[in-house]
Subunit: 422 residues, 2 copies
């Protein structure tokens, strides 16, 4: 058992000694570990993250801790999340090459993943708060979603390999539990860990009394736990994406598990919509109109790219046990396969909207808030931005079956954002 070896948390001082014997690191950093420079830079909620630099280059050393870093030892969280992160990273690298950091070394007992140092990348959420236009982001993320979701499913994999991965990631109980509680349930009642901007009190009470919304949130939770379609990233918000103008990388897949295809797409779009609703709060010296147009464009582009790439893979890589070619193309019935594709994409669309709506609520009403809104110092302004997002999210979640396209949603978002309707 790998777990029998005692876990020891790394420090900047001990890291060169502990990892200095690895050739793969000496090659990438420098052959003399005593000359490595180590900085701990983890700003997330869960893990230690070190940048290790030397004459030959730099790497990232990420180590899980046996508890939630943000909270402390009172909230234990198993080290095995590192194992799921590693397994997700190597699968994503295979399914959409170049879109995740390269893994150089994995140590299961010490919960360490050594990987590519992304430089000069910054977190996408920070770029969006600054108002940066990123020309490649929509296409990159749409393709990433299509490729990872399609290629991790029974549309592509052998039934045996897919079921083996289902079983592997089914052990990621504790991180799924975080999502099950913090995303789908806590925002809709007075759970202990919740917090929200005081200006929202009235709206929050209204949402928590909204029976249709609660039922819909639980129906989406039902999909989350029981629609085991594909390997998801599981936490694909704009804080899990690093960017330059010309490059996009998806990081931190430790929430990976087998769930509904629509979740990753919905969580991404939701975080772009939240960025949209937060722009007014960052409009210090002039207009963010161009940024708003960019964000609406990115949302369109992610979805359209996802549909186009998923459809391409459907037509060219459908080698799994679902919607087999032997029933359609091989019998001269390509149309049947296209109609089935349309149904599958229709289901993803409907569920995607629901997950997007719920994600907006939990980021404003639950434990884990977004810097997009949190960095708006004026609480009245912050509350106004958040209120528009909450109402938009409620519409997405409850009316998702009758929403026909993104254009109408962009119009609604604009009117809510301007305060034309409340």
């Amino acid at each position: 058992m790998a777990d029998a070896e005692a876990f020891v948390a790394l420090t900047p001082e001990t890291l060169p000694t502990k990892l200095g014997g690895l050739d793969v690191l000496k090659t990438r950093i420098g052959s003399d570990p005593s000359a490595w420079r180590v900085r701990e830079v983890g700003d997330g909620n869960l893990n230690l993250v070190f940048i290790v630099e030397g004459p030959a280059g730099a790497v990232i050393v990420k180590q899980a801790l046996p508890y939630v870093r943000l909270v402390g030892e009172s909230w234990p969280l198993p080290l095995k999340r590192s194992y799921f992160e590693y397994n997700a990273l190597i699968r994503q690298a295979d399914r959409d090459p170049g879109m995740v950091p390269e893994v150089f070394h994995f140590d299961r007992a010490q919960a360490i993943v050594v990987m590519e140092f992304l430089n000069p990348h910054i977190i996408l959420r920070q770029a969006l708060i600054r108002g940066e236009i990123l020309p490649k982001i929509g296409k990159d993320l749409g393709r990433f979603a299509a490729r990872t979701l399609f290629r991790g499913s029974d549309l592509s994999m052998s039934a045996r390999a897919r079921k083996e991965d289902l079983a592997l990631f089914a052990d990621n109980v504790e991180l799924c539990d975080i999502t099950e509680n913090l995303v789908f349930s806590d925002p809709y009642f007075e759970a202990e860990l919740n917090r929200h901007t005081p200006q929202l009190d009235g709206l929050v009470a209204e949402l928590r009394a909204d029976r249709d919304l609660k039922v819909e949130a639980q129906a989406l939770k039902h999909l989350f736990v029981a629609k085991a379609e594909t390997m998801l990233h599981g936490d694909l918000h704009t804080g899990s994406i690093m960017v330059t103008k010309n490059d996009t990388k998806v990081i931190d897949p430790e929430f990976a598990f087998y769930g509904p295809m629509a979740l990753d797409v919905g969580m991404m779009l939701s975080n772009f919509w939240m960025s949209y609703f937060s722009q007014r709060g960052h409009e210090e010296s002039g207009s963010r109109d161009e940024m708003r147009r960019f964000l609406i464009g990115v949302i369109d582009e992610i979805w359209e790219t996802f549909v186009a790439e998923f459809s391409h893979l459907w037509r060219t890589e459908r080698t799994g046990i679902l919607y087999q070619r032997s029933l359609f193309e091989d019998r001269g019935d390509a149309l049947g396969a296209e109609l089935a594709l349309s149904r599958v994409l229709g289901d993803i669309w409907t569920d995607m909207l629901g997950f997007a709506g719920i994600e907006m609520h939990r980021r404003i009403l639950g434990l884990a808030h977004n810097a997009d809104f949190e960095t708006i110092a004026d609480l009245d302004l912050r509350g106004a931005c958040e209120a528009a997002a909450l109402k938009f999210g409620r519409h997405l979640a409850v009316n998702r079956r009758s929403i026909t396209g993104l254009t109408a949603l962009a119009g609604l978002a604009e009117r809510l954002d301007r305060g034309d309707i409340q």
Copy 2:
């Protein structure tokens, strides 16, 4: 590893020596194994089944073989199916006590389950072919479905236990593969193992050209592989049920896995509908009108009992992570929980009809046929019975979203059966 011990198939001659040392058997059969009487009675497609009798009583010894018994060593099938059967039996016994044979002993390496000898039970399908009225069957099966499906899901279990069972049964790849191919795909193209009554040639060609039906069958397969809601029996037809007038037992759960709640219910109702459509073929000396009324009544009773018991468990045992009481009853919103129940049951209804339709097709067009139809010697008559069932099944599968209740279906079945419509 349990599998390291060499597997040896039992024979009536070797069985007393191999199992004679087990106290649990000596107590139930007789203390002198040399006095045990052993008969091999397996009439299924896959396994060895022995009745072992002695002065103290009798037991069933079921042993898997490393291949499909019906076909031979050319179709290998792993011994581990016995492990899944054992695990399913003990869970079902816990979830609906008294409805499955009691397990006395399990040997994983030898793939042996020793269990209760059901006497004077006969296979339900045989009873229905004979025209026997069974007054308890509808309530027993409706309750069994509700209790096993509810109690194996995230509505009831802890998230950890549910995910552990998901992973355990995810290894039942080979038996799932049988269903994935033989039920959902092979019937809809000219697969090698298919056969059908020659009188159906025209209708079979029509169904295999039916694009909507093919797409629907694959959409149902998509649910089968990816809607991992609960531990299913997985093969719950009338040949997997043993009965007396006063007792019902469900046997042979080796196809158990985590799948959609609707599958077990749909497969059961489908087999009662097939019995209905086959009655005309067994109407030798007078009328089966009473039997037909009984079967329509059983179908109603299974569904109504399922709904009533599932609703009862929803109100009294909803202790899992889905539709938590903390969001509904605990906040004075019992109505919200009832509306959510109505949605969950509505989804089960719709999917159940689809699975029922597909099951009718695969039993008439695929590899594994039903004795209900196969025992009708007159091929014209058999074909007429099967044609009505195929048309009824096509309606269930394709129009399942707009079918509102069982009464209209009973009327349609009657008109198809009488030849009023074709």
